[in-house]
């Protein structure tokens, strides 16, 4: 304990600033309000810091830190409000493909708000549009209409150099790992740095650091074909982290792995989220993934978002038919 994580640090500096400017007054910090999630560990750190400050009286209105629920506004009784930082905002996103004159809708009017520090699950059955949705975030797919806002900047129209620079700040991992078979593990991890033009010594240092983090530094000189599936996914996670990303997009990251390996990969993702404050967007068709690591979730069905909210709420009381089916609450052969 005691580490103040990235996004909480942002929050804390705002709190400290306010406390400083109103020194001597007995402030009351109210963290109740409309629910917006941040990971439990981050919340713990914030509370711990508040206790250290001793100048503020934290009101949590019955919400225990482990519920991972925080407020969009950190309202101070003096009338100050602090807005939690939005990392990704998708506004009325639509995507249609046309093949030989036949239109196919992959996304229809999708709006989502993903906050800094979220592990945001997007769950749906095959063909629901999840993969297209996640690819719209880093513009591997260009939305037909609507906009993509990352960290306050509308990036929808980005191309060329601007787009490359944006993508460099968003890591991505894939179901089939998509490692480069002809490169060593270390060369795979440092690929994002190589294309940025970093020199070899720097990128190898960073690469070894990351391989240490994922527990594979002994495999640096080996090739992906010599590793197990779980190890390959760890390498691809290290690769996704190379550029110090703000966001990591996980496209069915555990769907090709057995259940034990899945758990270890999920733990690694959660650890990265907690320790580095990296926002995660997790695409999956497995409800277990949402249960284990996501704090918020959106359910996508037939190209539309049919339900979204705090993961705990949605899982406890699903309103959409498809969510109940994914939860196994509908008889499978009904």
């Amino acid at each position: 304990m005691g580490t103040i994580y990235d996004s909480s640090r942002h929050l804390l500096s705002l709190v400290e600033e306010l406390l400083e400017s109103r020194e001597g007054e007995n402030l009351r910090i109210d963290v109740t309000g409309a629910g917006v999630g941040i990971p439990a560990a981050q919340l713990d750190a914030v509370f711990e810091k508040f206790t250290q400050l001793k100048t503020a009286d934290v009101v949590t209105a019955g919400l225990a830190p482990q519920e991972s629920v925080f407020a969009p506004f950190l309202a101070l009784t003096g009338g100050y409000g602090l807005q939690w930082r939005v990392m990704i905002q998708l506004k009325n996103l639509s995507k249609t493909y046309s093949t030989r004159g036949v239109e196919h809708t992959a996304l229809e009017d999708v709006s989502l708000t993903i906050e800094d520090g979220d592990i945001f699950g997007i769950i749906g059955i095959s063909g629901a549009g999840k993969s297209t949705l996640v690819r719209c975030i880093n513009l591997l797919e260009k939305p037909t209409s609507g906009s993509v806002v990352i960290d306050g900047v509308d990036v929808t129209g980005f191309d060329g150099r601007q787009l490359s620079d944006l993508r460099a700040t968003i890591g991505m991992i894939f179901q089939d790992f998509n490692l480069f078979a002809q490169r060593t593990v270390l060369e795979n991890v440092t690929f994002p740095l190589e294309i940025r033009g970093d020199d070899r010594a720097d990128r190898e240092r960073r690469g070894m650091e990351l391989l240490d983090l994922v527990g594979l530094s002994a495999k640096a000189k080996q090739y992906p074909s010599q590793l197990s599936g779980g190890q390959q996914q760890r390498v691809s996670i290290a690769r996704a982290l190379a550029n110090h990303p703000r966001v990591i997009l996980c496209d069915e990251a555990t769907s090709a792995l057995d259940s034990l390996t899945t758990n270890s990969v999920l733990k690694l993702l959660r650890q990265i989220n907690r320790e580095m404050g990296v926002t995660m967007v997790v695409i999956t068709h497995e409800i277990g993934v949402v249960e284990k690591i996501c704090n918020r979730v959106a359910v996508i069905d037939g190209s539309r978002i049919v339900e979204q909210g705090m993961a705990a709420d949605v899982l406890a009381d699903p309103s959409a038919e498809v969510t109940r089916r994914l939860l196994g609450r509908v008889r499978w052969d009904a």
Binding site: L166, R167, N178, Y223, S225, S236, A242
Partner: protein, 222 residues
């Protein structure tokens, strides 16, 4: 046997060297043109990195036309062009121009099929890390396909050994020339058989070293 080598040994050695020179020089030059052409055909294809229907169709046509013309016809038809480029249509040097023209479309197709073996996943991964089109081509497509392209090189070399023998018919020199002049026109079966044996050995050696090189390069299945 000794008499045979005393009489034809030098001839066969010179012929072998001429064939090797034609084959290797032509292959090297062919790849200079064939790889970019193959890459261009690949990346302009629909759904690829830089789709361009018009350019892709035109390149496809050029490659197909190049591959449709029988080599022996191309050889004769290109004589004025060869003279213009290298000053002569005879000898080893004169054979290189038609060999390169004939092999370039062939190599372009082989490079294209090597690149096609690469799944779209790794290209997408590279793009997702901010790689430019050029970086994807150079650092991902070509690098990941290198073992497969290497296998294509040995196929090309062997094809050009055959083509260069044909070029012998119109004065290119080399083993093909010897086989035709001595074996065909003068009914000297022993010389013809000797050239064939040498050609078989050449082809075997090229295939073997090509396979070795490809295997050494390929980091999969270790």
């Amino acid at each position: 046997m000794r008499e045979f080598f005393a009489e034809y040994g030098q001839l066969l050695i010179d012929g072998t060297l001429a064939t090797l020179a034609m084959t290797f020089i032509s292959t090297a030059i062919t790849y200079v043109f064939g790889v970019p052409l193959g890459v261009l055909v690949t990346v302009t294809a629909p759904g690829s990195l830089k789709p361009h229907r018009g350019l892709n169709a035109v390149l496809g046509w050029i490659v197909n036309i190049g591959r449709s013309i029988p080599f022996i016809i191309l050889l004769v038809a290109l004589i004025p062009v060869t003279r213009l480029i290298v000053g002569t249509s005879l000898g080893t040097v004169g054979a290189i121009v038609p060999l390169v023209v004939a092999a370039t479309p062939f190599v372009a197709r082989m490079v294209e099929s090597s690149l096609a073996e690469l799944g779209p996943g790794v290209i997408e991964a590279a793009l997702s890390y901010g790689a430019s089109t050029w970086q994807v081509i150079w650092k991902v497509m070509l690098r990941e396909s290198l073992p497969s392209i290497m296998r294509g090189v040995s196929i090309t070399l062997i094809t050009l050994v055959g083509y260069s023998a044909m070029a012998g018919a119109v004065g290119a020199g080399g083993l093909g020339d010897i086989a035709i002049r001595y074996g065909y026109y003068r009914y000297q079966d022993d010389v013809m058989i000797a050239t064939i044996v040498i050609l078989i050995i050449l082809v075997q050696l090229i295939q073997m070293s090509g396979d070795l090189a490809a295997r050494a390069l390929d980091k999969r299945n270790r």
